[in-house]
Amino acid sequence: MKRPHSDTLLYLNGVSVSFDGFKALNSLSLIVEKGEMRAVIGPNGAGKTTMMDVITGKTRPDQGDVVFGTDTDLTKLDEPAIAALGIGRKFQKPTVFEPHSVWDNLLLALAGDRRPRFTLWARETSEEQDKIEEILTTIRLKDLRQHRAGDLSHGQKQWLEIGMLLAQEPLLLLVDEPVAGMTDAETAQTADLLREINRTKSVVVVEHDMDFVRALGVKVTVLHEGSVLSEGSIDHVSADPKVVEVYLGR
């Protein structure tokens, strides 16, 4: 196995996954640097979500290396262990704990001891409360702290989930279609939010919305049939004839 460079945060090399003969990922290789924000685009079935599943431990790759930092082999770990390492994930469909208040959703996401013997006796500390207040400001839900999460609008749920990611204090955020179903104003605000987050954390954004990807202004990776088709700036990849063919040629 090739050793990743010391500036590398996430290193995928030759990763393949197949489901019943269908190759969801086909020798995919991807490197994300520390502090980088990367946009991943691609048509339906290109393997974007499977890639997220492999990184977060939901799916085991058939072959290939998935390394976090310089030497942590993610293929040997399960979801909670990978989350504890500092990889946070936001799902395509906003997934928040609906019966709980916005506040409690963030409380459960805060970095800390996850064992039952701790949570059984845990009391909210003032540090925890300060942290939650800070995140509420960032995700613009300060006035809705006691609202039931299930009663939030779609866009607010997306933000709450991003807030939960922040509360986890991850080193790397994987964000799956954060602006799906959002209004234009919400989309613009979300782009600001992600750029703000990127000041301290590495981010991988999977997105369909090309205007949004353009607004982010970061390096883009185009996936197609489970491997990388093109990589570079948004202008570079949208001029790439292979990309044009995949997006427009059928």
């Binding site: 909670p80 989350a83 997934t95 709980h100 208040s101 409690d104 996401a109 059984l120 609202h147 986890q168």
Partner: protein, 357 residues
């Protein structure tokens, strides 16, 4: 559940039991206020069922584990107590054997099986009433939750568990009295089981245990642990990506629930006077689910209320039209599911999230 409704429930449970006991013991039988010993035992039985319902609500209402075999833990606790009560009979049995219970003499057994050792001690019997259901739940839950068995598949294997125990306990050579089970009890810790004062004492003890369990359950579900549990119930995979291990939360609450059931069963047997394999029948576990659904799943108090209401209804109904009870129970379940998805308590609940601060 607010602090007020908790206090109120505790007051009703303890006060109600105390009132029945006092009216049974202090009011003369000629008085209009006299409560018969039959009613005292009946109330004791309802409260034991309420313990089972409360324990079931903890796993079903808060962790999403629909156990269709929870009565098995209840029955195991009952058997542990039954074994102690059998040993207490001593030479007063039909065969007058000081050590062997009647059914063993009848089967020509010469000595007590090893697993009956120690059951002459009430402390040991109580310990077993907690430990046997607890260990079974631990092993069963560890295997099931670790393999991520959930939903309807989990329900089916819990059903299989109680059915397997039913068949096992029917066998004479298991050494638990086979089909007839354990009965003809005489006394408990030296007190005659047929005395009114013993009956009232058992009712009060059951009420106190139920009250204590309600407080423990409420502490659990309002803690951060409880919030994680509810999160696991609704979106288990999400909790994993936050770094929680749902199987540990489920296992903890499943074992606790089984232990709670074991205590309920141990209190049930001396008040009913018999424990036999029919307590393992899958229908019993399903009935317990109906009690919880009727009262209101995920409310704790609703489970207790449901157990008492449905069993009160059962007592009345089986007195009038015994052959129609199962139909009535089935109809009740369908009606509650359609019309009262949040149970009887749902009629009063306001649709507001609980404030966390």
């Amino acid at each position: 559940m607010s602090r007020l409704s908790l206090s109120l429930s505790l007051l009703v449970i303890l006060g109600g039991a105390a009132l029945l006991a006092v009216l049974n013991l202090a009011a003369p039988p000629s008085s209009a206020f006299h409560v018969s010993t039959y009613v005292v035992s009946l109330a004791g039985k309802y409260l034991c069922f309420a313990i089972l319902a409360l324990a079931l609500d903890l796993v079903w209402g808060f962790a999403g584990i629909l156990s269709l075999g929870h009565a098995a833990f209840f029955a195991l606790g009952g058997y542990a107590m039954g074994m102690y009560l059998m040993r207490q009979i001593g030479t007063r049995g039909v065969y007058g054997n000081a050590v062997l219970p009647d059914f063993m003499v009848f089967l020509n057994w010469q000595e007590l099986p090893w697993y009956w050792m120690g059951f002459d001690n009430p402390g040991f019997a109580i310990l077993m009433a907690l430990a046997v259901p607890g260990v079974l739940a631990l092993v069963f839950g560890w295997l099931a939750f670790r393999s991520r068995v959930s939903g309807v598949y989990l329900s089916i294997i819990t059903q299989a568990l109680t059915y397997a125990l039913l068949l096992a306990f029917f066998r004479n050579d298991m050494g638990f009295g086979g089909n007839n089970g354990l009965t003809d009890f005489k006394d408990i810790v030296g007190l005659d089981l047929h005395l009114d004062s013993t009956r009232s004492g058992l009712l009060l003890l059951t009420a106190a245990v139920l009250a204590l369990q309600l407080m423990v359950a409420r502490f659990l579900v309002t803690s951060r642990f409880g919030k994680v549990l509810i999160a696991v119930r609704d979106t288990e995979s999400r909790t994993r990506f936050l770094g929680y291990r749902p199987e540990r939360y489920k296992l903890f609450v499943f074992v606790l629930s089984a232990v709670m059931c074991g205590i309920g069963g141990a209190l049930y047997v001396p008040q009913i006077g018999i424990i036999n394999p029919s307590e393992f029948s899958p229908a019993n576990s399903i009935e317990a689910v109906i009690w919880v659904a009727v009262g209101g799943r995920g409310t704790l108090i609703g489970a207790i209320l449901g157990a008492i209401l449905v069993n009160f209804g059962k007592t009345i109904f089986t007195g009038i039209l015994p052959e129609l009870w199962l139909f009535a129970l089935g109809a009740l379940f369908i009606l509650v599911t359609l019309l009262l998805p949040n149970g009887v308590l749902g009629l009063f609940a306001r649709r507001k999230p609980e404030k966390s601060q």
